[in-house]
Point group: C2
Chain length 363, copies 2
């Protein structure tokens, strides 16, 4: 029997309610497999700041160090509420980025997936969605502007200024590109390299390293696309993409656009993989404070993140697949969640909890 210790960081806003549904699913997987999940909850995010004086308390740091995998709900507050926390303790800077750094999760996998049967959720026309949307964004997650040196000050004339650095070295670039090439090799053997080499020197180095790394993957065809052109193309013809690789900030923006073309960020799970088997899993969306506690959130992204954990951290591909299928079956049965259904469209709306229950039934 395998035993895994899983850190459960529910986070802020809708975090706790979608985490609850994910945990339900894990329990089912545990019951029917020769596996034991030790689930340990810990405070993380703005709520942790208010209850424990730190958005990433020491006990949570110790837990993520000792856990076999971490699942994390969204964190963050509304623009107005954020102001009550000092800038460097705000949950993104005080908890999420330190978590990424701590586990060195350099590779963020964000599937943008909508089978043809669910194409009606997309804001795109059926003829644009075609056979469905099925691409995956591979985002560098511990470099670039996010972690570069930052300086804010006042110059000799009393003028406030800010400088922050977009930083990469060849090893960081190599690491993420190897992940992307491997994935492309296992899928359609096409890799879209998203960059801005006509302006950014970081893209120039990125592309130089890419030419070198590509030698090891002669079967993969590389297509170069400027980040701005990619933003156009994702709307006009997402079917042209399969695996897309890009630096941190570009990945932040384009993956949320990915959620847009699916119809909701609620359909965006993600895996953040580090070195030495370290990894954490999280929905790509925010904590939606406006609907928190109302049972309106879609737990798909959280449950999907758990499925990615089953696959990437525990090698349970089959169970992962079944979780995906169970979720899609719920939608295929004509149900929907609040983020996806427009009032009066005839589908039956499920609360957060009811969606989780239906997924469990299908499993």
């Amino acid at each position: 029997m395998s035993k895994y210790k899983i850190a459960i960081l529910a986070g802020d806003g809708i975090g706790p309610e979608i985490m609850r549904e994910g945990v339900k699913v894990l329990k089912v997987i545990e019951q029917r497999n020769d596996v034991e999940f030790e689930l340990v909850e810990a405070p993380f995010g703005a709520s942790a700041y208010f209850s424990h004086g730190s958005s990433f308390p020491e006990q949570t740091q110790a837990l993520v160090d000792s856990a076999d995998a971490v699942v994390k709900g969204p964190i963050g507050l509304s623009h107005e509420e954020s102001k009550k926390i000092p800038v460097d303790q705000q949950p993104e800077r005080g908890a999420l980025l330190p978590l990424r750094k701590r586990l060195n999760t350099y590779a963020n996998f964000r599937p943008v997936y909508l089978p043809k049967s669910l194409a009606h959720f997309s804001p795109l026309k059926p003829e644009v969605v075609g056979e469905g949307i099925d691409l995956i964004m591979v985002r560098e997650l511990v470099g670039g502007l996010y972690f570069g040196h930052k300086e804010m000050g006042v110059d000799e004339n009393g003028v406030r200024y800010v400088r922050e650095q977009l930083e990469y070295d060849e090893n960081q670039i190599k690491a993420i590109l190897h992940e992307a090439f491997k994935l492309a090799g296992a899928r359609k053997k096409v890799l879209h390299n998203i960059h801005k080499s006509n302006v950014l020197k970081s893209s120039v180095l990125w592309n130089e390293v890419l030419e070198e790394v590509a030698q090891a993957y002669p079967e993969v065809n590389v297509v170069h696309t400027l980040v701005d052109a990619a933003a156009t193309a994702l709307c006009l013809n997402p079917g042209q993409f399969d695996v897309m690789v890009m630096e941190n900030m570009f990945g932040d923006i384009l993956s949320d656009q990915g959620g847009g073309i699916l119809g909701s960020l609620g359909l965006m799970p993600s895996a953040c993989l580090g070195t030495d088997g370290k990894a954490y899993y999280e929905p790509s969306h925010g904590s939606a404070p406006d609907i928190a506690g109302k049972q309106m959130a879609n737990p798909y992204s959280m449950i999907g993140s758990m499925a990615m954990m089953l696959e990437y951290s525990f090698g349970m591909q089959d169970e992962a697949k079944k979780v995906w299928q169970a979720m899609q079956s719920v939608f295929a049965d004509g149900y929907s969640t609040a983020d996806l259904s427009k009032p009066g469209s005839g589908v039956q709306m499920l609360s957060t909890e009811a969606f989780g229950d239906k997924v469990v039934e299908h499993l």
Copy 2:
């Protein structure tokens, strides 16, 4: 009679053929108004590099300095062709960015506009487009990562690295925000501030300055939106936006997404306004080398950029409006251009030249 000297920089790829149609339109405006346009052509871009050894030759620099306004076609080559030009002479770094710096065009206005009658061009469903798309992105154009200090090198362990700075000072931020607030005041009195203050310190300063500038525009309601959330929202519900303001790189990506939701970058004109009445006008899209010379390009963005010149540089609001209406009438008559029509969709396709001719007829 007013006399204006206009620098005509046709650029690369489809640049010359769409510029020709724009010039046709200017001739019509000239004929029926008490105005004289002195049109002076000059080399600019990759083609200038090959013919004159510089992508922004001195004669062109002198011309843009003395002109009353500049219109510029797209520049750039395919990823492969670009490699034949040294990195710093490539047309983006060697011509376009220096042009922006030279005229200090800090304010880039990019209308994302599709009247309801043309909603079928959008990849978005009719119910998402609703009453049409009508927003305008105000992009800071001479700061940020584009113009910050860049350093590429090899560290003491032989590892290649790159660092480039995202730089802003409060005066740059104030300048663009004043433009955005003024525009919002003249439109729906809502300003969407697009930022990433949960990660970037530059957004923290940006938002700090915004609170100060906002005091002068009490009638404008500010809505804060994270750049990633904006990328989602532009797909799901573009109607929520009217005026959006953002820094340079965010503006590059989101405005191309704007072209995506319209159905083509060929519908994206733009105005780049500087200090002391300096300005240049350009389509927001690239030079599309793959279709250059084939009369397949849509000159809407170029003619639209000329309309923006009539309005912003020459105060000819009425004529500008007529140009817009003429272009929309061509589409409303059931015609289309290659970028917009899908084969077999029944509309009649117009070549670049034929579109220009129809616009002239309508004028």
